[in-house]
């Protein structure tokens, strides 16, 4: 009994990895065409995996043309062939489906399912309940306000870090010239925020 050399080729292994990574990435897309491309890539990755599973490549597995020890494994090739045929058929079907979707909707994006849409509708219906009474007239919701406030504090926070790390040259003199840290902080920060705004 001779043992088959099962050491895989590095190129094949890398190719499988890349195909699967790209395939998974595309499979997560919304467009059916891209999903299909992802499926094809992954399918080919699986086919290559079969080649690796069959051991090292050898000669044609026909008795008489190749010595027994040098034959490559024909079974995996048969399995890959089957898998390729199946992938081909399914590819044709998904293409037809994408085309039909394009005919009907003008795009081939996979839509949200019923439950997702129901949840979204619920959220929309409940949204007024969270509106702040004070801001109702101005048409602003708490969320909007929070977003704005958040922006300011964001700038503020950045300002402090900027002041400490990046822009000491601009204001370093002032701080050095004896402004008390406690009192000066507020104005300094505001100033930094503006500075930053101008820089951008």
């Amino acid at each position: 009994m001779n043992v088959i050399d099962m050491t895989p080729s590095l190129v094949l292994v890398l190719a499988i990895g890349v195909l699967f990574a790209a395939g998974v990435y595309l499979l997560l897309e919304r467009s059916l065409t891209r999903v299909l491309l992802g499926f094809i890539l992954m399918g080919n990755g699986a086919n290559l995996l079969f080649l690796v599973a069959g051991g090292r490549a050898g000669g044609a597995p026909i008795v008489g043309t190749t010595p027994d020890e040098e034959m490559s494994d024909p079974l995996v090739q048969a399995m890959v062939l089957t898998a390729i045929v199946i992938t081909l058929g399914l590819t044709a079907f998904v293409l037809a489906m994408a085309y039909r979707s394009w005919q009907l909707h003008g795009h081939d994006e996979v839509q949200d399912d019923l439950e997702d849409r129901r949840v979204a509708r619920h959220a929309a219906r409940n949204a007024p309940a969270f509106e702040d009474l004070d801001t109702e007239e101005s048409g602003q919701t708490l969320d909007d306000e929070a977003a704005e406030v958040h922006d300011e504090t964001d700038g503020d926070g950045d300002g402090i870090t900027d002041a400490r790390l990046d822009v000491p040259s601009a204001r370093g003199d002032r701080t050095a010239s004896g402004g008390t840290p406690g009192g000066a902080d507020g104005t300094d920060d505001a100033g930094t925020g503006q500075d930053e705004g101008r820089e951008r």
Partner: protein, 522 residues
């Protein structure tokens, strides 16, 4: 010539007959009547074959080497008790669904475009499902899966309406992903063992590195779990099934998820040595599937969606039985599969009738059907109570078996599952009663059309299935002992292997010496 000899000859028929019928019906697409006769005849013959196999398999698995090539080299078809039982129930259910859809097609008068492609596709679906049940080879199992999946894509998007394309694209993408995972698992299996024959794998998996084995086991579980709609992998199901035509939804709900369950049973028992970690994982999944599935059902306002969620939920019971990894647990799981195929298909067919009579499946638009159509009410009520597990119906017996074994094992996790099962059962009752109250008892919120006649051809098969569900209760004793024997052979591990390799596992050497080297040489 006794029954085993006959069985040897007829084992391939469940795959071959529907495929031939598919070809013929496709060629005869202009002749609707001929299509109907061929399709019905093919499935009837398969049903007869399945009953023969059911009897023959009781005295030992029936093995056929396709093309006279011995097992490790050639592909073999194996009908053991589990396969034969699944084959019998599924062929009967498919026959009823076919007759129902024939009547519906005739009644709706749309004998043209969709129906012309309907029959060939339905036959291909049948061939794929039966091939999966009979396959003794992991790659052939994959091919069986692909055959019925490809057919199911076509059936689900039949007519190509916007809603069906939307639901279909989710279904197709998820199914494609699970196929790739299955394919990867097969490649890894071949790389680590050098074979894809199930019987040979059951010997070789015991010898390889446990880490690799666990990886392959979990990959297979992942692939089949998507098919069977196990909880974290189940969200595709309630969205895609209800949009299809009633007969299609019925056969999908009844059979396709159960093929996944069958594959889990087959691979977990035959291929892999018992592993308590996997069983524990399965128990958690079973618990989550049951509880979360039924909570989804309670929230639904459409009977079809409600039933889809109960379908997900009740898969949990079968997985519970598998995870118990004991003979009583497995026997109860198999019994539950048989019960659930029947009852779930029946309910979807009856809901098709409800939709026809009431003009809708939304519980907000139905009402008063108990008065308008008392026969329909009975047809709905009986399988609905069966689903909820009201004694003495078959659903109760299956659940009772599971609970008994769960209590007998008595670990905290099995107790949690026992409690979960009971809660799920009660919530199922709640969901079903809610549907019953609204659809059949409340005063109709909108006008229910008068004088809608229901074709006898549609009521007939639905009634036959209801009766079959009741018959399962009547023959529960013999049936349960059959599933117990099936569970015994599944778990003893050697019956299947001995049947495939009667002269020991080196049978390939008798065929040709090169072959033996190839098979052993990994």
């Amino acid at each position: 010539m006794d029954v085993t000899d006959v069985a040897k000859v007829v084992v391939p028929l469940p795959v071959v007959l529907p495929l031939i019928a598919a070809g013929l019906t496709l060629a005869l697409w202009r002749h609707a009547r001929a299509q109907r006769i061929i399709a019905t005849a093919a499935l009837s013959l398969v049903l007869v074959t399945a009953v023969v196999l059911l009897v023959a398999a009781d005295s030992g698995p029936v093995v056929v080497d396709v093309g006279e090539w011995g097992a490790p080299v050639g592909i073999d078809l194996v009908a053991d008790r589990l396969s034969a039982l699944m084959l019998t129930v599924s062929s009967f259910v498919m026959l009823c669904v076919l007759l129902y859809s024939l009547a519906q097609g005739v009644a709706d008068g749309d004998e043209e475009a969709p129906v012309a492609i309907y029959h060939p596709t339905f036959m291909v679906l049948a061939a794929g499902v039966f091939n999966a049940f009979l396959s003794g080879d992991l790659f052939n199992l994959y091919v069986g899966f692909e055959i019925f999946l490809a057919a199911s894509y076509v059936l689900l998007t039949l007519g190509g309406t916007g809603e069906r394309i939307r639901a279909g694209s989710i279904y197709v993408v998820v199914a494609l992903l699970s196929s790739i995972i299955f394919l990867v698992a097969i490649a890894l299996t071949y790389a680590s063992t050098g074979t894809v024959n199930l019987a040979q794998l059951s010997e070789r998996f015991a010898e390889i590195d446990p880490g690799v084995r666990l990886t392959i086991q979990l990959l297979l579980l992942l692939a089949f779990g998507i098919k069977a709609a196990l909880f974290p992998l189940s969200s595709w199901l309630p969205d895609s099934y209800p949009t299809a035509p009633a007969p299609v939804t019925a056969v999908f709900a009844g059979l396709l998820t159960k093929v996944g369950v069958y594959a889990i049973i087959r691979t977990q028992t035959l291929l892999f040595p018992p592993d308590s970690r996997v069983d524990e994982l399965l128990m958690w999944l079973a618990l989550l599937t049951m509880v979360i599935g039924i909570l989804g059902a309670v929230a639904q306002n459409d009977i079809k969606r409600l039933l889809s969620f109960t379908l997900v939920s009740h898969i949990g019971y079968m997985i519970f039985g598998i995870a118990l990894a004991s003979e009583p647990g497995m026997a109860a799981a198999i019994f539950y599969v048989v019960h659930h195929i029947t009852v779930q298909t029946t309910l979807f067919l009856v809901v098709g009738l409800v939709e026809r009579r009431g003009g809708s499946t939304s519980l907000d638009r139905l009402g008063g059907l108990a008065k308008l159509a008392p026969g329909l009410a009975i047809l709905f009520f009986v399988p609905a109570m069966n689903l909820a597990g009201i004694p003495p119906l078959s659903g109760f017996l299956g659940k009772l078996g599971l609970l008994e074994e769960g209590v007998a094992q008595g670990t905290p996790l099995t107790w949690a599952l026992v409690v979960g099962s009971v809660v799920t059962s009660l919530l199922t009752l709640y969901a079903i009663v809610k549907a019953w109250n609204k659809a059949f008892w409340q005063t109709p919120p909108v006008e229910i059309p008068e004088g809608v006649t229901m074709p006898r051809g549609m009521v007939g098969p639905a009634t036959a299935l209801v009766a079959f569900g009741l018959a399962l209760t009547l023959v529960a004793g013999p049936l349960y002992s059959y599933t117990e024997r099936a569970a015994t052979t599944l778990l003893d591990g050697h019956t299947y292997v001995d049947a495939v390799f009667p002269d020991g596992s080196d049978r390939g050497q008798g065929e040709s010496s090169e072959v033996a080297e190839d098979g052993d040489g990994s």
